[in-house]
């Protein structure tokens, strides 16, 4: 692992400077320091995000968009500034293409509901077999409403999307193709640019779930060229309760609003209501203002901290994690490729993932154990569940070593 040692030594100051911005990470759990390897479930938050949210509540608290007073003007300006930040962050053409939601799940629900009038019985919806339930269930509900048909895009033996099968399915002219950018359970990466291009060539509407990508990769809407891209603030060092729906303007503007009322109207009378224009049309009710402002701070943080060197460090750390798990022995890895992002899925021999999780927890190690909200994927892998260790910008080699030592203790106890 000499290559990693050299990376760590090339980075120590800047990396410990990044890590030191996360107050949660310094705590002890009993006799053990917290070893947080559950970033794929939710990331920890840097001080700047907490400060931005506190600042809003301490000084600017007011509702956005409506009151003609100074506090509301300040709150509205901070809130709308984050839309501009996001436009730059994901390289969208227009600020109106950014919709604030409560999270990835709501974003996908907005799209799946909004497309209802555009689908008819027999239309085909293709879904990535590695998808999170949030990218499955809203489509199943859409299919129930419209009589559309869902077809999963199968995976190959090594847990990658089966590109040949994808071609065959695309030839059936699907109406919608729902993909994930990075699999939440496995960390495998889809070649989304290619996949979207091929789907669009067949006339499909494309949605990409980027929840596990945005904290680790630069995402570029002009390059990916999908119709919809969705992600959550809390997995990219921002607060919970805030998500983003990016939609290409022309198609976003055709969505039927799922939620109505509040700021999304232009004119209301008892004879009828006229909806407002984007982005407000899809943001009914008072939005999570402090969370939007926290997300803005998280974007600032990422733009400053997620340098090419830090991305390379994260990639090497994941390699190191995979290699150390292999070296430990009696560990099954699932879909662990050299180009994966953020997460490793594994089981210890034939032991139940929950036993492993409980015993790791005794040693201060936080990993996720279960089906990872991807039951169809677990069925494909013929697993009841597995453990997932996932890393973030603050993870260092010591965390990995701590985790591997803890897993060695679990192995000694169980095997």
């Amino acid at each position: 692992m000499t290559h990693l040692a050299s990376t760590d030594s090339a980075l120590p100051d800047s990396h410990s400077q990044i890590r030191s911005q996360f107050p949660t990470l310094t705590q002890m759990l009993g006799d053990y320091p917290l070893c947080y390897l559950d970033t794929a479930a939710t990331s920890q938050k840097p001080q700047c995000v907490l400060d931005a949210m506190a600042q809003y509540y301490l000084q600017d608290n007011a509702n956005v968009h409506r009151a003609a007073h100074q506090l509301s003007a300040r709150a509205t300006s901070s809130y709308e500034k984050v839309r501009d930040q996001l436009q730059v962050f994901i390289n969208a053409k227009r600020r109106e293409e950014i919709i604030f939601t409560h999270g990835t799940t709501e974003s996908i629900n907005l799209v799946a509901f909004g497309l209802t009038p555009q689908l008819k019985s027999g239309d085909l919806i293709l879904i990535d077999s590695a998808a999170h339930h949030a990218n499955i269930v809203p489509w199943q509900e859409l299919a129930k409403r419209t009589g559309a048909i869902i077809k999963p895009i199968p995976l190959t033996q090594d847990c990658r999307l089966d590109l040949n099968a994808y071609q065959t399915l695309l030839a059936l002219k699907p109406k919608v193709v729902a993909l994930c950018h990075v699999s939440n359970a496995l960390g495998t990466v889809n070649p989304v640019i290619e996949l979207v291009q091929q789907a669009k060539a067949q006339g499909a509407i494309t949605l990409v779930d980027g929840a596990q990508a945005v904290a680790h990769l630069s995402v570029d809407m002009a390059a990916i060229d999908c119709d919809f891209y969705v992600f959550s603030g809390h997995k990219m060092y921002g607060p919970t309760g805030i998500g983003v729906l990016y939609g290409r303007f022309e198609i976003l503007d055709t969505l039927t609003p799922l939620l109505t009322g509040g700021e999304m109207i232009k004119r209301v009378s008892f004879d009828g209501t006229e909806f407002g224009s984007l982005p407000n049309r899809l943001e009914a009710g008072t939005p999570p203002i402090s969370a939007v402002i926290g997300l803005g701070a998280a974007i600032d943080f990422l733009q400053l901290s997620l340098t090419p060197e830090v991305k390379a460090h994260e990639a090497e750390l994941l390699q190191y994690l995979q290699n150390q798990l292999r070296a430990l022995g009696d560990v099954h890895l699932y879909g662990a490729h050299h180009d994966n992002i953020g997460a490793v899925a594994f089981n210890l021999a034939d032991e139940h993932h929950q036993d492993v999780g409980i015993l790791l927890d005794q040693q201060g190690v936080a990993v996720r154990c279960g089906h990872h909200c991807a039951m169809p994927l677990m069925q494909t892998l013929n697993l009841k569940g597995c453990c997932r260790a996932s890393i973030g910008i603050y993870t260092n080699k010591t965390d990995i070593d701590h985790f591997i030592a803890a897993l060695a203790s679990v192995k000694e106890l169980l095997l």
């Binding site: 929950q354 409980i358 015993l359 040693q363 279960g370 106890l413």
Partner: protein, 147 residues
């Protein structure tokens, strides 16, 4: 009407270690490794449920792993048969059985799982936010004896 499948009454006739002995032993454990080794040993000594009895109707909800629970009353005493597909949860079931198996309704209703697990040095495992299902299992065992 089809009656749900039940284990035979004889299957419920097994002994468990009494809670006082258990507590005394757990007080001696020097570290978490030893504590969890004891828990898993306890689970190993319990009877297993056959596949036919691992029914959804007997499942205790609230566990990430699968856990099944049966209960009968005989001569004023309550007996349980429970199993799990994980070693630690099965062991935790064993801890609960030491407090409840073969006891009277009054004894079981007076049983305080929070205090019990605290004495065992395992209070962290009982929280309803834990996915091990221990909270749900304790509640199911107590609820089973309520009139």
């Amino acid at each position: 009407m089809t009656l749900p499948i039940m284990p035979r009454a004889a299957d419920f006739a097994y002994q468990v270690e009494d809670a006082a002995t258990l507590l005394a032993r757990f007080e001696q454990t020097p570290n978490w490794q030893e504590r969890y080794r004891q828990i898993m040993l306890l689970g190993k000594e319990l009877p297993c449920l056959t596949n036919e009895l691992r029914l959804e109707s007997a499942q205790v909800k609230g566990c990430e792993s699968d856990a099944w629970l049966y209960h009968i009353e005989q001569d004023g005493k309550h007996y349980y048969l429970a199993d799990s597909d994980t070693r630690i949860v099965k062991g935790l079931i064993g801890l609960l059985l030491s407090a409840c198996h073969g006891k009277t309704q009054d004894q079981i209703l007076a049983f305080d799982p929070a205090m019990y697990f605290k004495h065992l040095g395992l209070e962290g495992q009982l929280s309803p936010s834990r996915t091990n299902g221990l909270h749900a299992l304790a509640k199911a065992m107590i609820d089973a004896v309520k009139p």
